[in-house]
């Protein structure tokens, strides 16, 4: 540790967002990076704790104190190696991860955690900029072929790990582009799609074969994969959205958040649009659900020029500040404001949606209970972002006949092993909806199990 008192003498300084009026008029990244030198200074604040609480806050066990130390010494190159040693895609997590590590950081006892996520992001961005990140080719191939269903972060991490040992993974994706929710779930202003393309190129060089537009269980039967490949990994996510059974649910203008976001992402990428576009332009938009997907909808709606945006959360408003003595180092429940929420609109809590009022077959208002009293909110477009209830049964799961858990995910009695000895599962499809960083961890660990299985 180069500066034992860094945490006392250096103030926390983190990345900021571009001004609201500027950023809502484009689709570019909302974040303004810190200058590299400032990131190095921020790394000096890390205390290299005896019990690194940040580790345990991090599903991929990022070696945070170690790379902070290297960054503080301007040894970016070795920091990158250490970062990549536990995390295949720090450029994703460095942007979209909620950073439980920072909540667990020792300095967060006083609300001043190390800017771990920013440092992570800078390390990997610099790595790409300097050309340090190159394909890591396995010295020898093993000739073992593995089929991976799903190209989200879990499938990608699994594939990369397997390819680097010398196996031959093929990744199947039902959509036309690789990336899963990274690609069509997260808007560009949070995750530039160039980042995905760059990784895909590296992975192709490392020997991963990508097969988009292949809906396993629909376009291609699972048995075919089992014939052609030694093993099969299910990494298809948990895309079954939670529905709202209230009168008027069937009305025009009420959509799944994910349909809305996918369309928007395709539009921004310049891809062919769907026949019936869902657009917020000039509309009064209500987003039901207070999570990340909800936030993404809000940001997208702002950029499309919505007349108003209202976000509804069924739970009561959490406290502004957590009771630290009982929460730290765990992830605290408290009021958080995302960049999209900051951009405008209103947030309402403890709202139970009871139905929709129609006008000409289209939704016109949302009926709800607020503090036990009935209320009505004007709504032209309603987006349902209430989370996911498990994996799609149709397709790969149905055909592979693996056991499912009560939570509608693939059951793995032993880690990553399904009821079919040749089929493995990881990511949201196994653990249910979760963070990108969990998907990466699952993909990596699943790859290790698969490797053991292959002998």
């Amino acid at each position: 540790m180069t500066n034992p008192t860094g945490f006392l003498t250096i103030d926390r300084r983190d990345r900021t967002y571009r001004p609201v009026n500027e950023r809502v008029s484009d689709w570019s990244d909302v974040v303004v990076p810190l200058p590299g030198n400032e990131v190095r200074r921020q790394a000096e604040r890390c205390m290299d704790c005896g019990v690194p609480f940040c580790h345990s806050g991090c599903p991929v066990n990022n070696l945070i104190p170690e790379w902070n130390d290297l960054v503080s010494q301007e040894d970016w190159r070795n920091a990158l190696d250490l970062l990549h040693a536990t995390n295949n895609f720090p450029e994703f997590t460095g942007r979209v991860c909620p950073a439980p590590c920072e909540a667990a950081c020792t300095l967060n006892i006083d609300d001043n955690p190390v800017t771990i996520k920013t440092i992570e992001c800078e390390i990997v961005d610099r790595g790409f900029a300097e050309g340090w990140i190159k394909p890591q080719m396995a010295p020898h191939g093993t000739g073992k072929r593995i089929a991976i269903v799903g190209s989200g972060p879990a499938g990608l991490a699994c594939a990369q790990q397997l390819a680097r040992i010398g196996h031959a993974p093929t990744v199947f994706e039902k959509s036309d582009r690789i990336g899963g929710l990274l690609r069509y779930g997260i808007p560009d202003f949070k995750l530039d799609k160039m980042l995905i393309d760059r990784r895909i190129m590296q992975m192709e060089s490392e020997g991963v074969i990508f097969r988009p537009n292949m809906y396993i269980g629909v376009d291609v039967p699972v048995d075919r994969l089992l014939d052609d490949y030694q093993l099969l990994v299910l990494a298809g996510g948990a895309e079954q959205p939670r529905d709202l059974s209230v009168p008027g649910r069937e009305l025009e203008g009420i959509h799944w958040a994910m349909d809305y976001l996918t369309q928007s992402n395709r539009r921004v990428a310049g891809l062919p649009e769907a026949a019936e576009p869902i657009l917020a332009t000039g509309k009064h938009v209500i987003v039901i659900g207070g999570g990340d997907t909800g936030s993404d909808c809000i940001g997208t709606a702002h950029r499309q020029g919505a007349a108003s945006v209202t976000q509804l959360e069924i739970l009561p408003e959490p406290p502004f500040k957590e009771a630290k003595e009982f929460t730290w180092p765990h992830w605290p429940l408290k009021l958080r404001t995302s960049s999209s929420q900051e951009e405008g609109g209103t947030r309402e809590f403890s709202i139970v949606t009871t139905g929709f009022r129609e006008k000409g077959g289209r939704v016109a208002a949302l009926l709800c209970e607020r503090d036990g009293e009935a209320a009505e909110l004007r709504a032209d477009l309603v987006l349902l972002a209430m989370g996911f209830t498990g994996a799609w049964r149709e397709g790969a799961i149905e055909q592979s006949r693996v056991d499912l858990s009560p939570r509608n995910t693939v059951e793995t009695a032993k880690p990553y092993r399904t009821s079919n000895p040749r089929i493995f599962a990881c990511g949201d499809m196994r653990r249910g909806q979760s963070l990108v960083v969990w998907a990466i961890r699952e993909g990596r660990e699943c790859a290790a199990v698969v490797h053991t299985e292959l002998g």
Binding site: F7, M47, C49, G50, V51, F53, S56, L63, A85
Partner: protein, 1502 residues
């Protein structure tokens, strides 16, 4: 009581002893019975230095050695009508014969037969008249039958010396096989046959007797026919109470006070000489004497054996003593070159027998005494005008009128006193040694034969690993990222062994799931109580890393330097150095031949393959030595994809012990070339098992690779790394009190933990095994796992390590994110379910094996009771204490929080070292108290005032600390703020050093003295002694109990710390489970258990931990880390950096403001623990903690059969229940009676208003005079004491130890006579004057007036001593002023304040570690500079301002009528120019800063 055999964790080999000794001799050789009578008188005057066991009539033994009283035996011969040859031609074998008649006659027959075979004539047996009345029953039961065999010199024996050699041969042959014979003949008593002396010159009377009993028991001693010109006596203090007649001193040649630290190695090396030892004098007899030093003897007996061998081999007595116990010569610039050559030459012959030792020795013709190099034992002597010399551990042991004494002096470090009865004169140290040094051209011999490695020409370029392979090779040797981060990088940068903090909470190597290095299974031993550790920095003059590589010459041959020797200044060889050694055959004309032996074996091998590889290695070593190859290099360089390295400690131990067993070890050197060793501890293990030099090649290559290819930077880093290793090795040696690498090498100063007995017996012979464990199979598996990982397809990162800080993928820790979070949430919200989650994680060790106690299981009672029936938590928490953490190491906020919490629940908090702020002694308005009930007394004595002591419920003497036993500490100046300075009686900004030893505890009887002192200050407090778990701690604890301690804490090695070298944090000491169980068993065996309260601490966390500690023997329980965590600590392990982010281990006001802990949190924690304990007690059917203490039958050991490595663990010895009588737990504390008549007389005056004075005689039996009085004054008047001049005592005679200890303000003690050690210890404002009576005309500056370690830890007051003080005058003085007319070595050591004036000579190492205060030395001969060893930190200058000095010299003159002061004052202008002023730079800077601040404050207030 029968002497117990080895059982459970008790091992009789651990018994230690120490004591008082002395002699009286008529220089003119006039024999009389009066001399013997005086000897016996000395003995009774030293009675307090001995000890008594559970039975007060049972001492530890004493004895007396005299010349053969011819008249006595002539009378016997006349009676027997036997013809006795003239004196000198017959010998007397003093025999302790077996009590069993059959065995007795076998014993007699055996001796008679050997006398006959060896050609001597047995004249008959004389029954020794004894009077056993008054002996303790235990002593009587063991009493041997005393008889003397009278043996006449045989016709073929040339002279008396040859006769003595024959007698030795007879005695050895008689005694050595006795144990075997006893078994063979089924006569167990035969093994008891013992011959205390067998000589034609001397005779020993000794036994299991009290000092006053010796003369009564042995009627010979009072028989007027028994005359001698000398009497050497010894009073023993043994740690155990088992009566043993033979273990009393004197032995045949020596009586010894102290301990030989290196004895294990010394005995090994002696026995390794079998093939190289030849003596023209002894001839074939030598071979009959093996083993020269039988195993299992005491250190003194071993030393006596070595000495008698050297004497028999032809060395003069003094020469032999210099060979065994050399003075510090290596770094001594003042020493005559010839004498240094003498020592250097002999260094190759024999490694020093190192220890705190005052040894009296005699062969009947000469008698003398010598002191170890550090002067750690007292030895005072006086010479009378009628040619009597009296030498003893104390002054005043014989009542000799002062005017008859012509000289009073003391033995100085490394010096010798010799009286030659044939020449009838005293031969002083200088003469003895220069005669011997000039007896042969040692200097020339050295020049011709001694080669230093650094002078040899460079050889071939060292091998380099290809950069791509570095990581694989590192992995093969188990390198982790932590090794680079915590060790190699910082060592290469700073040249220091790295520092860390908090304790270790990782599993011992055996229980770890990771493959661990073999080094991790060895734990360093350290000195506690029975010997002192050394400060290797401040007392570097006694330390030496010099190593001799290669074969050693014949100890008994006089080869006159034909033997070539290779020397290195320190044992770590660079890669270049090693190549020089490999090529040495060419450079040194074939004097040395080397061979490199391959210490690797084919990969994939199992235990058999490993064993075969070791056999091959040993066989190759033998072959090489027999082929005259005299330097063996064990090398693991050939590690590769296909070859696995043998753990280097295993290879080293195997070859070393194999060669010892073959008697070949002295014919070759052993050099280690290893990629595995990298830390200090690794080097120490290799050295301890015989490595003469070590080349850690991979560490060098690694440093090369992390310095980024810059050759100059790499070179500098490698040099710093070597320097750091050197410092670290010195520290490890010194914590056991060993000063030289030569005696450390092969000394095996380790406990093994987790190694199986078989493995140890085969490769680490003689190392202790307490819990069993692994064998070759597991070692092979660990090595293979590393190798597989290293050569797997993907190289990957190095392992994280995770030992020093918890890291993902690293070693398991007890304190984890979850356990800390759960505990903190639990205590903040009083949430029992969170506590249960915490305890479940810590206690459940079925998956994570963390501790030894985790492998123990409760045996549930057949009839459990309801929890309500168990005593309430409120009673249980009274047994809880918090750990000793100083105000200084933790913040005032944290410290007072713990104190308030403990006071509320009736437990105890501990001040730690460093005093307590006075405002904490007063209760708060809400009746809370911030006072710590336990007041610690540690080595620096910071803040130990009478007021502090009288405000204690318990006074704890900290002997050692779990995290760094045997080491001192240092609070750097920048951490000493105003408040800390105030409680430590220093000034802000001045660094404060805690020395490794208590300078008043070098030996067990010293501890008894300190306990005596403290008890006098505060008779109402329990006195506790804190020890650290290691093998033998039980025996030490038994000794401590005999020192009358009330309470003993056994600390585990896991204990926390504010700062400690990482080397010590993990590698010194043992888990408390082992130490506690050993202590319990040993105390039970000794019948001492009921006398003391036992406390366990070091990593206690849960109620389960408490239950197990209680069952293993603890009455009370200490917690440190857990309550800190309850108060907010998050195990940052940054205490040493002062950056604790939660305001606990810091003094930074900004960080302290962050402290959020409350007493309630701490209280909640303790109640949770107590509740958990109650549930366990209920399940065991136990109603009260008292019922559970020591009930080992409530536990069972669960062998971890499912663990790949730990399946061989065996905790059976922990659960051993010895047969015992008496209580198994503490019987509670009871106040002891205090005598102190002089103090009582003064206390009686306290009630009178007017100033009072008394006059009294005093003797050396009056100890700690003034302590009781000062305690009483502090109790009545607080810290400020009495008004100046209130009380005065004039005392005449010799004062006992600790004269004027803790003397309070307002009291003056004037002593006419002299004083012993520790005068003015802890002086707290009083005035001491010591001067000889006016009738004595001795020159003050040539005569000693007070003993060693005077004014230790003094805080205020004045002292005027008309004469010379012993060693370590004013050590750690922080405020007293004193004038003395000369002082020994280490004067003003560690001083932080006060003023010392020396009007005479000073010894070496003046002002070492002195960070404050001032000194004035009258130095007309300009010698001072050569007495300084830290000149860089001191300002030594001529006097500018003489006001203070003049006032002090004037006062000295007034009070003592000093002639020297008078003459200096008579010509003051000239005198003042002869004074030198000494002040530490740091102190001067701090004073200047204070002054500046004061001025600023003054201005602003205006």
């Amino acid at each position: 009581m029968v002497n117990p055999i080895r059982q459970g964790l008790y091992d009789p080999r651990q018994e230690r002893d120490s004591c008082g000794m002395g002699f009286v001799v008529s220089v003119k050789g006039e024999k009389s019975n009066a001399i013997i009578e005086q000897g016996l008188k000395i003995l009774t005057s030293l009675d307090h230095r001995g000890a008594r066991g559970a039975d007060p009539r049972l001492g530890d033994g004493c004895g007396c050695l005299i010349q053969i009283p011819d008249a006595l035996f002539r009378a016997w011969a006349d009676e027997q009508r036997t013809n006795l040859p003239p004196l000198g031609n017959y010998a007397v074998a003093m025999c302790f014969l077996p009590r069993d008649e059959e065995a007795r006659s076998a014993a007699r027959e055996r001796l008679e037969r050997l006398v006959r075979i060896e050609g001597q004539l047995l004249l008959g047996w004389r029954d020794v008249p004894v009077d056993p009345q008054g002996l303790a029953e235990a002593a009587l039961r063991q009493m041997p039958v005393m008889a003397q065999a009278i043996v006449a010199r045989g016709p073929k024996v040339r002279d008396q010396d040859a006769f003595e050699r024959k007698l030795l041969a007879i005695r050895k042959q008689t005694q050595n096989p006795l144990a075997d014979l006893a078994e063979k003949k089924d006569l167990p008593g035969l093994a008891d046959f013992y011959i205390p002396s067998f000589s034609s010159r001397t005779l020993v009377y000794k036994g299991m007797l009290l000092s006053e009993q010796l003369g009564i028991f042995y009627k010979d001693l009072t028989n007027p026919l028994t005359v001698s010109a000398l009497a050497m006596v010894h009073q023993r203090f043994s740690t155990n109470t088992f009566p043993s007649w033979r273990l009393a001193h004197p032995y045949r040649f020596i009586a010894h006070n102290g301990e030989i630290n290196t004895v294990r190695g010394n005995v090994n090396w002696m026995n390794a000489r079998r093939r190289t030892l030849e003596s023209p004098l002894l001839g074939a007899d030598l071979d009959k004497m093996w083993p020269l030093i039988p195993h299992g003897q005491s250190d003194t007996a071993s030393l006596d054996n070595a000495l008698e061998l050297l004497i028999a081999g032809g060395y003069p007595l003094a020469h032999a003593m210099m060979l065994l116990v050399p003075e510090a010569w290596a770094g001594n610039a003042q020493m005559d070159p010839k004498r240094r050559a003498f020592y250097e030459y002999h260094a190759a012959l024999m490694e020093p027998w190192d220890g705190p030792a005052a040894i009296a020795f005699t062969d009947g013709r000469q008698i003398g005494a010598t002191l170890d190099r550090n002067g750690l034992r007292p030895a005072r002597f006086c010479v009378t005008d009628d040619d009597l010399v009296v030498m003893a551990s104390e002054s005043g042991v014989l009542p000799i009128p002062e005017e008859k004494i012509v000289r009073k002096w003391r033995l100085q470090p490394g010096k010798m006193l010799l009286i030659d009865l044939e020449q009838r004169r005293i031969v002083d140290d200088e003469e003895v040694k220069s005669n011997l040094a000039e007896a042969a051209p040692y200097g020339d011999w050295l020049r011709e034969t001694q080669f230093n490695l650094k002078d040899l020409p460079p050889a071939a370029e060292p091998k380099m690993i290809a950069p791509d392979d570095v990581r694989r090779i590192q992995k093969a040797f188990g390198y982790t990222r932590e090794d680079l981060k915590y060790f190699l990088a910082p060592m290469g940068e700073s040249g220091e062994d790295p520092i860390g903090s908090m304790g270790t909470d990782t599993p011992v190597a055996l229980l770890s799931d990771k493959p661990r290095l073999l080094y991790d299974y060895f734990k360093q031993n350290f000195a506690q109580v029975t010997n002192p550790p050394i400060d290797p920095i401040r007392e570097s003059l006694v330390m030496s890393l010099v190593s001799m590589i290669g074969p050693r010459p014949n100890l008994l041959g006089h080869h006159a330097g034909a033997h070539k020797r290779l020397e290195v200044s320190q044992p770590i060889l660079s890669n270049e150095d090693l190549e020089k050694i490999r090529a040495i055959h060419e450079t040194l004309d074939g004097a040395f031949k080397t061979v490199t032996l391959d210490a690797t074996w084919p990969k994939g091998g199992d235990a058999q393959a490993l064993e075969a590889a070791l056999k091959r290695l040993c066989w190759e070593a033998t072959e090489a030595v027999l082929a005259d190859i005299n330097l063996l290099i064990l090398s693991d360089r050939s590690v590769s994809q296909s070859r696995t390295p043998i753990p280097m400690a295993l290879a080293t131990g195997a070859v070393h012990h194999h060669l010892i067993r073959q008697g070949l070890r002295m014919q070759t050197g052993l050099v280690i070339e290893t990629g595995e060793a990298r830390e200090v501890h690794h080097m120490c293990v290799l050295a301890g098992y015989g490595a003469e030099a070590i080349n850690p090649w991979l560490a060098f290559d690694t440093i090369g690779s992390i310095t980024g290819g810059d050759a100059a930077r790499a070179q500098a880093a490698k040099q710093k790394y070597v320097k750091a290793l050197g410092k670290g090795i010195l520290k490890v040696m010194s914590k056991m009190g060993i000063s030289t690498y030569q005696s450390y090498c092969g000394a095996q100063i380790f406990d093994s933990i987790g190694l199986g007995q078989e493995l140890v017996d085969a490769y680490f012979t003689g190392t202790s095994v307490s819990i069993g464990g692994i064998g070759l199979a597991q070692l092979a598996e660990e090595t293979a796992r590393r190798h597989r990982c290293a050569f797997a397809a993907e190289t990957g990162l190095l392992d994280s390590g995770g030992v020093w800080a918890q890291r993902e993928g690293g070693e398991a820790h007890a304190w984890t994110l979850d356990s800390i979070a759960n505990l903190q949430h639990a205590v903040r919200g009083a949430l029992p379910e969170k506590y249960r989650a915490f305890a479940a994680e810590v206690n459940d060790q079925s998956r994570r094996k963390l501790t030894l106690r985790g492998m123990l299981e409760f045996k549930s009672a057949s009839e459990p009771i309801a929890v309500d029936e168990v005593e309430p938590s409120s009673a249980i928490v009274k047994r809880f204490v918090t750990g000793a953490m100083s105000f200084g190491s933790i913040s005032r906020e944290a410290h007072t929080t713990l104190a308030i919490a403990m006071n509320r629940i009736g437990g105890k908090s501990n001040t730690g070292e460093g005093g307590e702020e006075a405002d904490r002694l007063k209760p708060l308005l809400n009746a809370d108290s911030r006072r710590s009930a336990i007041k610690q007394v540690a080595s620096a004595r910071f803040g130990v005032t009478p007021e502090y002591l009288v405000n204690a419920d318990e006074i704890q003497i900290k002997i050692a600390q779990g995290a760094k036993p045997g080491e001192g500490g240092q609070l750097p100046g920048h951490k000493v703020d105003r408040n800390i300075a105030a409680v430590r009686h220093s000034i802000p900004g001045v660094g404060l050093i805690s020395p490794p030893p208590h300078h008043d505890i070098y030996s067990i009887e010293d501890l008894a003295q300190l306990i005596f002192d403290l008890r006098h200050v505060n008779p109402a407090a329990r006195i506790s002694v804190k020890l650290v778990s290691e093998t033998g701690v039980g025996t030490v604890a038994a000794g401590v109990a005999k020192c009358t301690a009330d309470h003993i804490t056994i600390s585990g090695y896991e204990g926390g710390t504010g700062a400690s070298p990482l080397t010590s944090l993990l590698n010194a000491g043992l888990p408390w489970e082992i130490g506690l169980a050993e202590t319990q068993q040993t105390l039970l065996l000794n019948g001492l258990r009921g006398r003391v309260t036992l406390q366990a601490d070091g990593g206690l966390r849960t109620g389960r931990d408490v239950a197990i500690a209680a069952i293993l023997g603890a009455d009370e329980f200490g917690f440190a880390t857990a309550p800190l965590i309850a108060a907010g600590c998050i195990m940052m392990r940054k205490c040493h950096l002062n950056t604790c982010p939660v305001g606990i281990a810091t003094q930074d006001p900004v960080l302290r403001a962050r402290f959020a802990g409350t007493p309630e949190q701490v209280i909640n924690y303790f109640f949770f623990v107590a509740e958990e304990l109650r549930e366990i007690m209920a399940s065991l059917g136990v109603r009260a903690v008292d019922e559970m203490v020591g009930r080992v039958e409530l536990l069972r050991f669960v062998q971890p059969l499912d663990h790949w490595k730990a399946y061989g663990l065996d905790l059976g010895k922990l659960l051993h229940q010895p047969r015992f009588e008496g209580p198994r737990s503490s019987k509670g504390w009871r106040r002891r009676r205090i005598g102190a008549p002089i103090d009582q007389a003064l206390i009686a005056e306290l009630d009178n208003a007017a100033p009072a004075a008394i006059e009294r005689p005093i003797s050396n039996l009056d100890r700690a005079v003034g302590a009781r009085l000062s305690g009483e004054i502090a109790r009545r008047h607080g810290g400020s004491g009495l008004p100046e001049g209130s009380l005065r005592a004039v005392l005449t005679g010799t004062a006992g130890q600790s004269f004027g200890a803790f003397l309070a303000r307002g009291v003056t003690l004037e002593l006419i006579g002299d004083a012993n050690d520790y005068a003015g210890k802890g002086l707290a404002g009083g005035t001491l004057v010591v001067r000889p009576p006016e009738a004595a005309s001795r020159e003050a500056s040539d005569n000693i007036i007070v003993g060693n370690t005077c004014l230790y830890g003094a805080i205020a007051g004045e002292a005027y001593f008309l004469g010379v003080a012993g060693e370590r005058f004013a050590v750690r003085n922080s405020g007293a002023v004193a004038v003395v007319e000369g002082a020994g070595d280490h004067c003003c050591e560690y001083m932080t304040g006060g003023t010392i004036v020396v009007l005479g000579d000073i010894g070496r190492n003046f002002a070492a570690g002195m960070s404050g205060g001032t000194g004035y030395v009258w130095d007309p001969k300009k010698r001072l500079q050569s007495c300084l060893s830290n000149a860089a930190e001191l300002s030594v200058e001529p006097l500018l301002d003489d006001r203070d000095l003049l006032a002090l010299v004037q006062r000295h003159f007034e009070l003592t009528r000093s002639r020297r002061a008078g003459s200096l004052l008579s010509n003051w202008p000239r005198s003042r120019s002869e004074f030198v002023f000494v002040v530490p730079h740091e102190y001067r800077r701090a004073l200047a800063l204070l002054e500046k601040q004061a001025t600023l404050v003054g201005q602003s207030s205006r």
